[in-house]
Amino acid sequence: MQVNGEFRPLIVAFCCNWCSYAGADLAGTNRLNYPADVKIIRVPCSCRVNPMFVLRAFQRGADGVILCGCHPGDCHYTSGNYFTRRRMTLLFSMLDFMGIERERTRVEWVSAAEGAKFAKTMNEFCEAVAKLGENKRLEDLRCKK
């Protein structure tokens, strides 16, 4: 998306309810800044994120997708984030093969106490995706109104 002649990426962030969503809340409570490009979608656990959701986001024109979950071993449901890690490793390498650069996808562990880490991660991620420019590979023009 172009805003005032400057490219602004569209970032979809899936955050697990127990750690990362709370971490994002904490970033807000501490009034930390990160770009408004990031739109957070709440899921119960990072393992709820179906690879389909990630593909759908890219299809609909997202420029980057990031998944945030509890640190390994801290998942509220004990093992969910291990599934996430494996599933996304596979998915991301497939996406890479299809031409969606590695920098556009990311899994990050953010605890409920790591508001600062959440903001930092989002800033870095936005910057990296902004550098790459628009996602043209997977965007499905039929979805554009």
């Binding site: 408004a36 759908r56 609909r60």
Partner: protein, 672 residues
């Protein structure tokens, strides 16, 4: 037809300062399905909630979106408000435009724009919401404690104290566990039996507590609040109700050569036995492997002398079934087997012993009546060689080991440093002419009065602590032991001629822990310790609802820590049992039977064992009936993580409240 109402909160200036709330309310009115939108100063206030409720009634809303602070703050508030106005509480969604929007962004334009997008996503989601009702299940007000050691005893006593029935299942003939074998406890040096046996008696006398000794849990089915357990009462060939524990039978039994497991095989017991004087229940047990009557049908002496007529050679194992609301795992530990550690010559010399064996040797009720003798001289205690003059303690045998030798453990067994200091101190106190060496890697003594205790051993009692490991113990022809070790501080090789070598063996979860864990679908770590629901915040619960953890089965612990955890565990159990019924979380997974192909993918990823399979009949298009294996989710057990929904290859699994279509709709709305 959807009739959605959107309520945008100013939150004073918290939101209104960076988000043009009026513009948001304006913009969402254009969305399909939205019939009403408004903004208000404080939506969570009494007046704000009334606004929501009135609108629900007046506008006959089918869904509500509140654009406000984080759902972690006020989702519950608005759900309750909606329910009061007659709308199902799960038809409410929150768009987080404070923590994740207005507080983050400085500039009004981008803030407002983002708030509109977040509101749209919530609207898209709420259109796909379905009314949900939390299920209710009744709670059986009875607890099962598996394991009758100090952990199980304390948990049972505390639960009984709160007025609930508790059953203790113990596989040994008596409760008491490892603590009964221990002589003194650190750091107070009081006698273990003196503090434990009164608790055992309390258990026996408490009307609320039922002890199934010499019994094992065979199977567990059900879920939180509603478990059914099958308990096998092993035949002890003695009628528990009739036996008075007089010990006449034990006296007369001719079969004397049975290794006494209570004294770790250091002496012998009879084929009919009572493990120790204070056993609870104090009932004799016949060891069928040695009993002459059981083996070749000749003898029957015990039955002749038993005045109570309690002996019954034909007794059979008995299975009983009982219902429970909560189950506590208190399965405890064992020292590891160290026959694989050849360098310490444990199998070659009787004078190389484990610390637990030393406990028995120092105990007044032990094989040597409390005199410290070398095990090789147990039968000739008067010999002047019997008393060991030089004793070497070896720390960390099998603990903290990075080599993958069979039986060795990566973790620290936690209790060894302290009990070795205790042993060394007690020996120096009673036999000041004895030289005591302790080889250690590190001395770890965190705990109240622990370090003081260890320093006393070194400073006051002159125990020689040597930082380094023992490389080899070689038995000599004259019965002494050559100990070769290294002193890492002076960087020297050391040779000590010892009379007794004591190995501080690692401890490991009891062998039965794994099978019990599987039975309870409680998760365990690679060392077979039970995993807690949360390592910091829920340390006494298993992730499996209704299963609680007490004592060493969760990780190495000393007695005070075990008792603390046992009581904490009881508090959690009581918290569950006081409830008459449990309200479930309706946001759980469910499977579409028509789509399910019974592949088991979901079952494998479920951390709670909530998914089961059954054969069901389905009508085929050609009117024949086919039987297919399909998955079903137990909503009382499912915690709603959604792992199964992603694992399911056919898309049969979905999660209430976070369904595939709901999340997809959110993605679409965000990317529009």
């Amino acid at each position: 037809m959807h009739r959605i109402g959107v309520f945008v909160c100013h939150c004073g200036t918290n939101i209104a300062a960076t988000v043009d709330v009026k513009a948001v309310a304006e913009a969402v009115r254009e969305e399909t399905g939205v019939v009403f939108s408004a903004d208000y100063q404080y939506m969570c206030s009494e007046a704000g909630q009334t606004l929501v409720q009135d609108t629900i009634r007046e506008q006959r809303l089918t869904g509500v979106v509140v654009c406000s602070c984080s759902p972690r703050m006020h989702e519950a508030t608005f759900r309750k408000a909606a329910a009061k106005a007659g709308l199902n509480s799960y038809m409410v969604e929150i768009a987080n435009i404070r923590e994740q929007c207005s507080w983050i962004h400085k500039d009004m334009v981008s803030g407002t724009e983002k708030a509109i997008i977040l509101a749209r996503a919530a609207i898209a989601k709420v259109m796909l919401n379905t009314p949900l009702t939390p299920g209710k299940t009744p709670v059986t007000k009875r607890a099962l404690v598996i394991g009758g050691g100090i952990a199980g005893i304390q948990t049972a006593l505390d639960i009984a104290e709160a007025g609930f029935d508790v059953d203790i299942v113990e596989k040994q003939p008596t409760i008491g566990g490892k603590m009964t074998q221990i002589d003194k406890t650190f750091p107070t040096l009081d006698c273990a039996s003196c503090i434990l046996t009164p608790k055992m008696v309390d258990c026996a006398q408490n009307e609320k507590i039922h002890i199934y000794s010499y019994s094992e849990v065979e199977s567990v089915t059900g879920f939180v609040g509603n478990f059914t357990a099958k308990i096998k009462r092993k035949a002890r060939f003695v009628d528990e109700k009739k036996c008075t524990g007089c010990g006449e039978c034990v006296e007369k039994c001719p079969m004397k050569k049975v290794p006494n497991e209570f004294n770790l095989g250091l002496d012998n017991r009879k084929a009919i036995y009572i493990p120790f004087a204070q056993a609870v229940p104090k009932v004799a047990t016949i060891d069928a492997n040695y009993c002459l009557m059981k083996k070749n049908g000749k003898c029957g002496l015990c039955s002749k002398v038993c005045g109570a007529g309690a002996i019954n050679y034909d007794q059979q194992d008995e299975i009983i079934e009982e219902k429970y609301g909560a189950i506590v795992a208190a399965t405890g530990y064992n020292p590891i087997k160290i026959d694989k550690f050849d360098e310490f010559a444990y199998s070659q010399s009787p004078d190389v012993i484990t610390s637990l064996e030393l406990e028995r040797l120092m105990n007044a009720a032990g094989p040597s009546n409390g005199t410290l003798v070398r095990p090789s001289y147990l039968s000739k205690q008067d010999d002047h060689e019997a008393h060991p003059k030089t004793i070497v303690f070896v720390q960390c045998v099998g603990s903290r080991s990075t080599e993958c030798r069979k039986g060795s453990k990566e973790y620290c067994s936690k209790i060894c440093c302290m009990y070795t200091a205790k042993h060394a101190m007690l020996i120096r106190e009673k036999y000041p002419d004895t030289d005591v060496y302790v080889f250690y890697i590190d001395v770890r003594t965190p705990g109240k009065l622990f370090d003081e205790f260890y320093r006393r051993a070194v400073e006051q009692y002159g125990v020689h602590y040597i930082k380094g490991m023992v490389g080899k113990v070689s038995p000599r022809a004259d019965g002494k032991l050559d100990v070769q070790g290294s002193d890492l501080i002076s960087n020297e090789q050391l040779h000590v001629t010892a009379d007794l070598v004591v190995l501080a063996t690692a401890i490991e979860p009891d062998k039965t822990a794994r099978s019990i864990g599987t039975m309870l679908t409680a998760s365990m770590d690679t060392n077979d310790f039970f995993t807690e629901a949360h390592p910091k915040l829920r340390p006494v619960e298993s992730p499996t609802a209704g299963v609680f953890l007490s004592g060493v089965c969760q990780g190495p612990k000393d007695i005070p820590e075990t008792v603390t955890q046992a009581s904490a565990c009881a508090a959690k159990v009581v918290g569950l049992l006081v409830k008459d019924e449990l309200t479930g979380n309706p946001c759980v997974a469910h499977s579409d039977e028509l789509m399910c192909n019974g592949c088991s993918a979901c079952e494998k990823v479920c951390p709670y064992g909530a998914i089961t399979y059954s054969d069901k009949e389905f009508r085929q298009p050609d009117r024949t009936v086919a039987i297919r294996r399909v998955a079903s989710v137990n909503p009382a057990v499912c915690q709603g993580c959604g792992a199964c929904t992603v694992a399911c290859p056919s898309g049969a699994m979905d999660l209430n409240g976070f369904s595939n279509s709901q999340i997809m709709a959110e993605v679409d709305a965000v990317c529009r």
